[in-house]
């Protein structure tokens, strides 16, 4: 459970810092007037949506940190037999990377008011994300064909579980992206698209990051890394 604890520690640290800045040490009973301590925010819809997404991503982060914790706990036992990773996973990773970059292009384009790069970015991002999902399905089929079934052993089960959880989140993101894209195809201007593009790009970057962590875990790189750190410490 160390992964989730580290994750939580980071969250708690950020929150305490924020609370502290918000005047956790002020003395509200002495302060009368409109501005006591820090002023309350005047919400703007885009700000609210961004913060909403951020909070949601923390929840997603917690979900994955917990799953990874479970993975590490189980994989520490001696009978762990990880399935061989299908090579296509690396191609998929590349697709997701491109997808993330494309959305970043769209985001920068939207900032600049450049509808062309928004269009290219959105379409390319959506397409490559679909490629990623297709590739993941293909990886599953390949494993199945080689006889590494879901139920054969816990290592296989974890492989399918992690990829499925991540895939579902990508698919969910595609729904959001699809809505923004539809709005664009219906002729919305850059200003109207800016917020949606922004949110999609953030979500994509985080999912890419999560995927890289998962990949590191599945290839055993992270395990090795942790082992090296342990050795250095002792």
């Amino acid at each position: 459970m160390s992964v989730i604890l580290i994750f939580l520690l980071a969250i708690v640290a950020v929150m305490l810092w924020w609370l502290w800045r918000q005047g956790l040490f002020s003395k509200p009973w002495l302060e009368v007037g409109v501005v006591g301590g820090m002023a309350a925010p005047a919400p703007s819809p885009s700000q609210v949506a961004r913060i909403g997404l951020l909070v949601f991503l923390v929840v997603v982060g917690s979900l994955f940190a917990l799953t990874v914790s479970a993975y590490l706990m189980r994989s520490a036992l001696v009978d762990w037999r990880a399935p061989p990773l299908p090579g296509i996973l690396f191609a998929n990773t590349f697709a997701l990377l491109v997808s993330s970059l494309a959305l970043q292009t769209a985001k920068v384009g939207a900032r600049r008011g450049d509808l062309d790069s928004v269009r290219t970015g959105l379409l390319a991002g959506g397409f490559t994300a679909l490629v990623f999902l297709g590739g993941q399905l293909f990886a599953w089929r390949q494993l199945n064909a080689e006889g590494y079934y879901l139920a054969s052993n816990p290592a296989n089960a974890f492989f399918y579980l992690l990829t499925a959880l991540h895939g579902v989140h990508v698919a969910g993101g595609l729904v959001g992206l699809g809505r923004v894209t539809r709005k664009m195809l219906r002729g919305a201007g850059v200003a109207e698209l800016r917020l949606g593009v922004d949110l999609c790009a953030t979500y994509w970057h985080v999912l890419l990051l999560i995927w890289l962590v998962l990949l590191g875990l599945l290839t055993g790189r992270i395990g090795e890394f942790v082992a090296i750190c342990r050795q250095l410490l002792t």
Binding site: L24, S44, Q47, V59, S62, L161, E192, L195
Partner: protein
């Protein structure tokens, strides 16, 4: 910041409050059924939780009757008893308490107490309720599927939860897991709203440190729930895989009835870690809103500012953070590394410090206060007594050496019913008596309320106090009947009968409460806008019950903290948060303030 979403409709924003567009119901269905108004959603949450809570109450009667008069109700066999325990525990903890504190009170109070017009994502909020309702319906469907609901205990420990001889193995466990996952999805949608509304929806002048403690409690609990529920979600998902797809996340190699099962290599302890990573914070997810509400009730009904507001806030935050590192105190007997036991026992005892601090501060708030023994105050006092009682036994159980012999006895059952059963329920009642006038415009009948309080409070003690003793005798929990057992004296049986009768009486008292709720809706005394002469913003709305959008044309402006009671020199014994005394109101003509000063 450019206003992005409103470009098309040319909506002109008169004040900063209008930037967020309010949703407007157009007909009866969108107003009362598929409503996006947090106040309506709150009531929907409350009613649904109450309805399913009544099921759990009836189940507790059945269990109590079985314990005192084994065989009296012929249809209760061992399997049914397990199913009742499981459903009772799960409903009470998750579907009643969590839902009513966060979905019910959270929805009603957050926007009103912060001076917002509504939640920040009203549509998501509505969806949250409907998914919750679906989760409840799925759960209730468990009673009707072949084999009945699961009987695995509310902790759902694998592997027994999905092995053939556990009741409800066929469908019940699937239903339970699916329902929990739905609940978590629905909750996450609501939780995003509560957090973002606290972060972004506060009106002018409402700094974090001016928020009433109720909001602090609900806010912290929501953050905790958002972080902790994913553990249950993953656990449930993995168990669902095990049950449906034949994986072995939690299933070790098992020989059942002389046959080797196909599973193997799973780790049951893994589930326990995931479950308690959620399960312990869950205790505080229920407790923190209760702490917050009690603080406000005490302060209002004792006409005194809360003692040590800052410390109260810090304590809430610290308890919230610490409660994530104590989960394994539920696993002292699970066979985990005993060295961990020491760590977790220490953290468990450390958490007692901020908790004790809160209790002292409540007592000091009451000290020499002008205590009005109103019904909400009675419930708040009842809470403090019960909570202290349950907290003390918790200190015993937090120690490994004490816990090991008491683990799985009725002592544990008595302990957690005191702290997280009776205590939060008392707060819920107190809160309903307190806010009912705002929700409906009428007071609940006080005489009925006092009868309800005394019967519930004394009755709950009659049920659970003797239970400690039975636990010390060594009576195990989750036993359908004791049979002939040498270490249980015959007097224990008499005690059991007494407890059962008390439980039935307590249950009956709740019918009185429900009657009061329904009757007062029409016949209760008119409440006016602020019957308790309270300071917080929800009592300063221009209309009671608050209209759609909560406030008049202008949002209230906050000038002070939430606890200005009996301020020397002021002409009333309370100063609402939007009262600028002794200064002048803000330059803009602010109708809300004038109203509030009525």
């Amino acid at each position: 910041m450019v206003d992005l979403t409103h470009g098309a409709d040319g909506h002109a924003a008169p004040g900063h409050d209008e930037e967020l567009e309010l949703y407007h119901p157009t007909n009866w269905v969108t107003k009362y059924v598929f409503s996006q108004d947090a106040k309506v959603i709150a009531i929907q949450y409350g009613l649904t939780a109450t309805a399913i809570g009544l099921v759990a109450l009836v189940l507790s009667w059945l269990m109590r009757i079985q314990l005192a008069y084994p065989g009296l109700l012929a249809f209760i066999d061992a399997d049914h008893y397990y199913q009742f325990i499981t459903m009772h525990g799960m409903i009470m903890v998750v579907y009643l308490l969590t839902a009513i504190f966060l979905g019910g009170f959270g929805n009603y109070l957050i926007p009103l107490m912060l001076g917002a017009r509504d939640m920040m994502f009203p549509y998501l909020n509505m969806l949250s309720y409907w998914i919750y309702l679906l989760a409840v319906l799925v759960l209730a469907a468990g009673f009707f599927v072949p084999g009945g609901p699961t009987g695995a205990g509310w902790t759902l420990y694998p592997p027994q939860a999905i092995l053939a001889n556990t009741p409800g193995q066929q469908w019940g466990i699937i239903i339970m897991l699916v329902s929990l996952m739905l609940f978590i999805i629905g909750f996450t949608m609501g939780g995003l709203n509560y957090v973002v509304t606290v972060l972004q929806g506060r009106t002018k002048g409402m700094t974090l440190m001016r928020m009433p403690l109720t909001i602090w409690g609900i806010f912290t609990a929501t953050v905790m729930a958002l972080l902790a529920f994913p553990a249950l979600f993953v656990g449930a998902l993995m168990m669902l895989f095990d049950r449906l797809l034949g994986t072995s996340f939690f299933m070790p190699s098992i020989v059942a009835m002389g046959e080797q099962l196909p599973t193997g290599g799973g780790s049951p302890i893994l589930f326990q870690h995931l479950f308690w990573f959620f399960g312990h914070p869950e205790v505080y997810i229920v407790a923190l809103p209760a702490f917050g509400i009690v603080s406000d009730l005490i302060s209002t009904h004792a006409r005194k500012n809360i003692f040590g507001y800052r410390m109260m806030v810090w304590a809430i935050v610290v308890i919230g953070a610490l409660s994530f590192v104590v989960w394994a105190h539920h696993m002292y007997v699970s066979g985990m590394n005993p060295g961990f036991g020491f760590f977790f026992a220490t953290t468990t005892l450390i958490i007692a410090v901020p908790t004790a601090l809160k209790v002292y501060n409540w007592v000091l708030t009451l000290w020499r206060g002008d205590i009005h023994f109103t019904v909400p105050m009675l419930f708040a006092l009842g809470f403090i007594v019960t909570f202290v009682n349950g907290g003390l036994t918790g200190l015993f159980l937090g120690n490994v050496v004490v816990d090991v012999p008491l683990s799985d006895t009725l002592f544990v059952v008595a302990h957690f019913h005191m702290v997280m059963g009776v205590a939060p329920i008392l707060v819920i009642f107190g809160a309903i008596y307190h806010w009912y006038p705002k929700i409906t415009g009428r007071m609940l009948d006080a005489t009925l309320g006092k009868i309800h309080f005394w019967v519930t409070f004394l009755g709950a003690y009659a049920v659970f106090f003797p239970m400690h003793y039975l636990g010390l005798l060594g009576m195990p929990r989750r036993y359908f009947e004791m049979g002939e057992t040498a270490f249980v004296p015959p007097s224990a049986h008499t005690l059991n009968e007494f407890m059962t009768i008390a439980a039935l009486v307590v249950g009956a008292a709740q019918m009185l409460f429900l009657f009061n709720l329904a009757w007062s809706l029409r016949h209760g005394k008119e409440a006016g806008g602020n019957p308790w002469r309270a300071t917080t913003l929800e009592w300063q709305t221009p209309e009671t019950p608050p209209a759609h959008g909560n406030w008049g044309p202008e949002l209230p402006v906050v000038y002070r903290w939430a606890y200005d009671y009996s301020v020397p020199g002021a002409d009333r014994d309370f100063l609402p948060q939007n009262d600028p005394w002794p200064g002048e109101p803000a330059p803009a003509p602010d109708t809300a303030v004038a109203e509030g000063a009525r």
